[in-house]
Symmetry: C2
Subunit: 157 residues, 2 copies
């Protein structure tokens, strides 16, 4: 471990990202009483960061924690809202989860599946750094926009 | 009540229907020990019939019965298999259910949503007669085939 890694906050430096802003907004939307008003975006999104060390320590036995399922939903809600902002097509989420932490999440715009993700080890859902969280989101949004471009009639169907 | 209605079996006369045969096959596929071998298709599908009188007596309070959810799944599994037989496109099912008996079921082929059904009063899921059950299934299958015809690239995507 170098002095550099010791000084780096968990999740690395916060990055500038439209997706991260959207995710923070989705989470703040649930804060009806303003209890998180004093908290930073990094504070309220802290649980989306799962470092390599933390990942190893999370058991993948039994049903995933409801908190993890909540984070998965919020992540894809934020993706859906960004898709709507970029393409004008509203995308709604559906999930299919098994009890063992396997599952599938889709975002549907009209008749078109714009995001389809098979998940495994949902117990460990999270990203190593803010940069990877932002990139992960942006990639899904860009791919959804391409899918809508390729099948515009189905997306509006 | 006329002598005629008195003599008619529950659900009316059984009708000849590829969909009903498929539904019966989907249900028999779960009968690993052959316990239903002596039963007719009408016997094993009896719970899909809900007459008007029965419907009124089913409360729609609380979570829908797991048996009802099972029947909804089997119904749409059979629809999916018929879509595959008719179009060659495999369609997989996803559900989103609330605790109050509202929900949505979709069948997805490739990137295309070929069936999308918003359900309400799932507690009362069923059909008045064999004829209506067969018609309900055939209609969804025909509509899915049309959707695939209209968006072939997305269905294979």
């Amino acid at each position: 471990m170098t002095p550099d890694t010791l000084n780096t906050p968990r999740g690395g430096e916060m990055v500038e990202s439209d997706f991260l802003k959207q995710l923070a907004a989705v989470i703040r939307a649930e804060d009806s009483y303003g209890q998180w008003d004093g908290k930073t975006d990094a504070d309220i999104m802290a649980e989306f960061i799962v470092t390599k060390e933390e990942r190893r320590e999370i058991p993948i036995i039994g049903d995933p924690d409801p908190d993890v399922m909540w984070r998965v939903s919020k992540f894809y809600d934020a993706i859906g809202l960004m898709i709507e902002k970029r393409t004008g097509c509203m995308a709604s989420q559906m999930q299919k989860m098994s009890h063992e932490g396997f599952g599938r999440v889709v975002l549907i715009a009209g008749k078109l599946v714009v995001v389809s993700k098979h998940l495994r080890d949902i117990h460990r859902f999270g990203f190593e750094s803010w940069e990877k969280l932002a990139e992960g989101g942006e990639k899904l949004i860009a791919s959804a926009a391409e899918t809508i471009d390729a099948h515009p009639a189905a997306a509006r169907g």
